[in-house]
């Protein structure tokens, strides 16, 4: 591979000049480097191959001894994986690059930039004279690139708002898409047929291909919507409306597409076909959901048994979901709906079963894959655009673009008038505008167009050109302007705050209240059915799908447990000060890792309930007195007064240490059972042991003042300073017990003298150390969803 030595002047301003220069260099190298191998895909290096073959043949015949090839180039051996990796690398480096440029990410959405890069790469490949690989080949797209994005969306779908607005979403998805398809298709046909005196190629277009085109272009695309809406942080309602619509309209699109494609050849569609189409729609959507739900339950059930093999837990989630998608696609059901159903169904149960680390793994893998997929899709869109084949027809394209806009606006406005009669929280004009404006088309439309066969549809190229134009228009124009428009119209933004325990309690309370009132009124409404579902879930489903004790854990407790955990982790991360003001938990490092969300405003410290002054004083007294006692003992230090003589009989010391350890462990276990229903028991004994034996954390943050001036057994002793400390801890702990009845546990000494008295702290720190290496579930609004709405 050729490499360019740097003769580039770094662009960009400011301090990271060398960095930017380096990045640019890397990018250009990659681009250049990628062009040739990718181009070489289609025109293999035949000559080289032939030479090798010839050599081989010759060797066999003549057995002439050649020099042993020390270094050899065999590109074809690794060609395909290499290219794939190169594309992925290109996509990721591009992503990096954008965020280094100062103001660009704010103005231009990522999707636009990525398409531009794709155009560039496509252009380069074409310039180099190679054939552009058909990257947006529908197999690749539908089977590899789309599922991660949809799974990510489905797994983290906020169930509560989704269910609350389900009626609205369905209306938009089904009726809206149908309206769009027929309106666009019909009007296009009409437009194509005008000017009968001047016959153009457009006249060849029949009504059915027009309708087919209409159905392809009318569907709002989840990838594009996600890409743009992620960056504008709009309020939850609007987000879920547009996003939900983009997910659920897949069924409609699938049915319409197949219907029109089938009958395009025949040329007519009868009423019977229409009727069958409706039935097909029901089958496709409900069937897809059913398939997804079945796989979701399977996953939940499997995860029940994974307590001994935690490492492969994430694998089950991914593989089962993917199989749900594939199974649905096998029956021509809606794969997207299957994936959504699978993710949404499995989530509450799987999360109750798996460990913290698996949870984190699943989350990050999903985000990573979906991010890469999205990037790749946009780049490929750019490449495919350059590839063509294009057939530009001014009338067709401009009419399409205009019609798309018009039909969307009319559709949204019209539907909202109807929907608002049934909604409690009505949709305002602003909301309607955002919903209409946010209807972006994307790669799905292009792939569907790509799938059309040339023989059946002679106008295929024209279709493709029009589709690409619409996609470009929505992504570039609408994508770039939606953010300033949102600011301009002062649309409500997303609320960043987390759910507090008060909200949780009161919301549950209100749920019960509303259910009760509904029962009094004799009205079987929303709450009634939700309550019934919850009861059913608690009674039967949870028992089957959640392992062990967790199945009985009430939702409130689980929520509380999570909150405490988060808080404890935050406390450790923020250094564990003495006097922490009460506020929202810090979100320092966990949020930073999330690729799509912006860093939070400020890390605020929070903590654990403060103790009253009196109590603090009390504890200080205790500690002081203890300190004195040990000092006294120390003054009369004499090697023979120690419990175990460190110089000699190491064995007895060991025994005592072991005994103390066992006692302590028992105490810890006992403590552990206090706050929570024991979750994941296999973790605790091992972790406890590990912690006691060698965890530096347990001793590191102890302030020096408090530490008993330890018997600085100078190192003729086999004991490490650590174990001697341990001895001291035990002695002190015992003493505390005997003297005061206060449980002062060694690990809890870690956060300073003010806290040890509280049992809560001890417990929390144990949980804390258990998950210290892994930040655990990060503070995220998705996290705060209760298990079942």
């Amino acid at each position: 591979m050729p490499s360019r030595t740097g003769s580039h002047s770094p662009t960009g301003t400011g301090k990271s000049l060398p960095e930017r220069g380096l990045l640019l260099l890397m990018v250009l190298v990659l681009l250049e480097g990628s062009v040739l191998p990718l181009g070489a895909a289609s025109s293999p290096d035949i000559s080289h191959q032939k030479n090798v073959d010839n050599h081989k043949v010759e060797d066999e015949k003549n057995y002439t001894k050649k020099a042993f090839p020390v270094l050899d180039l065999d590109y074809h051996h690794i060609q395909t994986p290499f290219e794939i990796s190169l594309w992925v690398l290109l996509a990721s480096v591009m992503k990096l690059g954008f965020h280094m440029i100062p103001r660009l990410p704010g103005i231009v959405p990522e999707s636009c930039l990525l398409i531009t890069v794709g155009l560039l790469v496509g252009g380069l490949i074409k310039l180099a004279g190679e054939k552009v690989p058909p990257v947006l080949d529908s197999q690749l797209f539908f089977l590899c690139l789309l599922p991660p994005i949809i799974l990510d969306a489905g797994y983290f779908l906020p169930i509560r708002p989704f269910m609350e607005n389900l009626g609205t979403i369905l209306m938009f998805a089904v009726v809206g898409t149908l309206w769009n398809a027929f309106f666009i298709g019909g009007l296009l046909y009409a437009v194509c047929q005008i000017q009968p005196a001047n016959p153009s190629e457009l006249h060849q277009l029949e009504i059915l291909p027009c309708l087919l085109f209409g159905s392809i272009i009318s569907a709002v695309d989840p990838v594009a919507v996600l890409a743009v809406f992620e960056e504008i942080h709009i309020n939850e309602l609007l987000h879920i409306l547009v996003f939900g619509e983009s997910l659920l309209n897949d069924a409609v699109t699938v049915v319409l597409y197949h219907l029109f494609e089938e009958y395009s050849a025949a040329g007519t569609v009868t009423v019977l076909d229409g009727f069958l189409g409706i039935i097909s729609f029901l089958v496709v959507s409900l069937g897809g959901i059913l398939v997804g739900a079945i796989y979701g339950i399977l996953t939940a059930f499997t995860s029940r048994f994974t307590s001994h093999t935690r490492v492969i837990e994430p694998l089950f989630v991914f593989v089962y979901s993917y199989m749900a998608y594939l199974s649905a696609e096998m029956f021509h059901l809606s794969g997207i709906m299957a994936l959504i159903a699978c993710g949404a169904v499995m989530r509450p149960y799987v999360e109750a079963n798996i460990s913290h680390k698996s949870h984190t793994t699943i989350k990050y893998f999903l985000k990573m894959w979906s991010s890469v997929s999205e990037t790749l899709i946009f780049i490929f869109l750019g490449v495919a655009t350059v590839d063509g084949p294009h057939h530009w027809n001014w009338t067709f394209v401009t009419v399409t673009v205009i019609l798309c806009l018009v039909s969307r606006i009319i559709g949204v406005v019209g539907l909202t008038c109807v929907i608002n009669k049934f909604r409690i929280v009505k949709l305002t004009t602003k909301d309607q505008f955002i919903v209409a404006y946010g209807g972006m088309r994307g790669a799905i439309a292009f792939s569907l167009g790509f799938l059309l066969k040339k023989e059946q549809f002679p106008m295929r190229e024209m279709f493709l050109t029009a589709i690409i134009t619409v996609i470009f228009f929505t992504v570039f124009v609408q994508g770039m302007t939606i953010k300033p428009l949102v600011e301009l119209l002062a649309v409500k933004k997303k609320q960043e705050a987390k759910r507090s325990i008060n909200e949780e309690i009161h919301t549950q309370f209100l749920d019960h209240l509303l259910t009760g009132i509904e029962d009094i009124c004799g009205h079987y409404g929303h709450h009634h059915w939700k309550d019934k579902l919850n009861r059913f879930n608690k009674k039967y489903v949870k028992k089957c799908l959640i392992a062990g004790e967790r199945s009985k854990e009430p939702q409130l407790i689980a929520f509380y447990h999570k909150m405490e955990m988060k808080q404890a982790i935050d406390l450790v991360e923020s250094g564990g000060g003495v006097n922490l003001p009460s506020a929202v938990p810090s979100t320092v490092s966990m949020q930073n890792i999330q690729p799509k969300k912006p860093p939070p405003a400020k890390p605020v410290e929070k903590a654990l309930p403060k103790m009253t002054k009196g109590r603090e004083e009390e504890i200080r007294q205790i500690l002081r007195s203890n300190l004195q006692k040990t000092r006294q003992r120390l003054r009369s230090y004499n090697r023979h007064t120690l419990v175990a003589d460190p110089y000699e009989d190491g064995f007895s010391e060991l025994l005592i240490k072991k005994q103390k350890m066992i006692e302590l462990e028992k105490k810890i276990q006992h403590m552990n059972n206090y706050l929570t229903v024991p979750a994941a028991p296999p973790d605790s004994p091992t972790m406890c042991r590990a912690r006691l034996a060698s965890d530096p954390q347990a001793y590191s943050s102890k302030p020096a003042a408090e530490r008993v001036p330890t018997i600085q057994v100078d190192l003729a002793s086999p004991q490490s300073p650590d174990s001697v400390n341990l001895m001291d801890e035990f002695r002190r702990a015992d003493q505390q017990e005997e003297d005061q009845g206060l449980m002062m546990k060694p690990p809890s000494g870690q956060s300073g003298p003010n806290r040890p008295g509280e049992e809560d702290r001890g417990r929390e720190q144990q949980k804390l150390t258990r998950c210290l290496s892994d930040p655990g579930p990060s503070a995220d609004e998705e996290e705060d969803e209760p298990f079942l709405p």
Binding site: T507, Q508, F509, L513, G516, E518, C521, L556, Y560
Partner: protein, 194 residues
């Protein structure tokens, strides 16, 4: 329609009730039918036992509290007017209804709804939710599935979060503040009462 107005006449003070609560004639009628259905003894008023006969309500963790909310302190029975007034709290909020200062705040305003919920917590009507009252509610909701320590921790934390004036109890304003992000208008609504 003739029949409707005549059956409306059966209901005492129907017009005033409609005026006061904002219910339409159809709603009042429907509620009256329900009232009569619950009133098995045809006494013209409901007693706690009548409420208790509703099966789903007895399964509700806070069922007893809800029932007692219908009865003003000291009274043993609730007549139709009070019944309707309580249920008026659950009408959807109208945002664009112009109110002149003279009218009392409508029953379905956000504040009134919150006040109703608050009173369900605050049984002794001292204007604050004390720790004990919160614990009681938690105990009812969690239905004996948790230990006492867990309850204590949760109550402790809840009060910590909400209590701004450090009096170890949640006043109505603090209660309202802690729920400011929750869409009460949406939550405390019975659809058919719109």
């Amino acid at each position: 329609m003739g029949s409707k107005s005549s059956s409306l006449n059966k209901i005492p003070n129907a017009q005033e009730l409609m005026q006061e609560t904002g219910f339409s004639a159809a709603h009042i009628l429907r509620l009256y039918e329900r009232f009569e259905f619950l009133d098995v003894d045809q006494r013209g008023e409901l007693r706690p036992e009548d409420f208790g006969a509703i099966r789903e309500l007895s399964m509700n963790p806070i069922g007893d509290r809800i029932i007692s909310a219908f009865f003003s302190p000291g009274k043993e029975a609730v007549d139709f007017a009070s019944f309707v007034r309580i249920l008026a709290h659950f009408r959807p909020t109208e945002t664009n209804r112009t109110r002149d200062g003279a009218q009392p705040e409508p029953a379905n305003s956000r504040t009134r709804k919150l006040k109703f919920a608050f009173q369900l917590y605050d049984q002794d009507r001292d204007g604050k939710i004390s720790r004990e009252e919160l614990l009681q509610v938690l105990r009812m909701m969690l239905e004996m599935q948790v230990t006492e320590e867990q309850l204590q921790s949760i109550a402790e934390r809840a009060i910590q979060e909400a209590d701004l004036d450090q009096d170890d109890a949640i006043s109505f304003d603090e209660f309202r503040k802690s729920l400011e992000k929750v869409d009460i208008d949406h939550k405390m609504n019975i659809r058919f009462l719109s």
